[in-house]
Symmetry: C2
Subunit: 126 residues, 2 copies
Amino acid sequence: MRATLEYAGIRVKDLEASVRFYTKVLGMIERGRKRLGETRGVLVELSGEGGGVPLELNWYERGSTFDTPYVPGEGLDHLGFRVSDLERAVAEAQKAGYPVIQEIKTATNRWVYIQDPNGIWVELNG
Amino acid sequence: MRATLEYAGIRVKDLEASVRFYTKVLGMIERGRKRLGETRGVLVELSGEGGGVPLELNWYERGSTFDTPYVPGEGLDHLGFRVSDLERAVAEAQKAGYPVIQEIKTATNRWVYIQDPNGIWVELNG
């Protein structure tokens, strides 16, 4: 087959806390919200103000077969974001309660990681 | 900040097994491969033949601080792929050893999930 990746869907424990993080801290826009009776879940569709890759937040209510004990795990290594001004982005994230947990410097580049409310690693590359 | 999501990076236990799954079964294209001394890892960049969201495979060698016990976890709920012919895609995946593990039907749509070599849920929507 020739499959096209359309979006990444992350699972969240507290839907509104994650919506706040991705919209207020990272500045993404909520594009849509659906309740799915089939999975007893709610999905929120986000993307950047200027486009980019869509991110889906998946939340499941109590009693859903997907409402299981939550560990972020290793499956999702990280979500890779670009920002226009890394220093400013780092300062804003820190002020919002999301400090840098890892910084990587190579000969030509530098990027950092913060953790979202579920412990998912979010890369900021400037 | 106004961050733009550029790609999703998944962690993989066996780099070549995951490259085979995403290129041979899903039909993505390997666009690049880099070794990062800073993390003692290798990253492989993939995207669909017709474009779409880039997927990064992150593998870490023994001794890397990221070479930790691996569980897929709940952080990555799923990766959402579109295929042109869902029936054919399902038959091809099944034949390659990746059977459907969940099917969701709504009033207007139907999609299925298979699991990648690391147990990550891969949605196929036709």
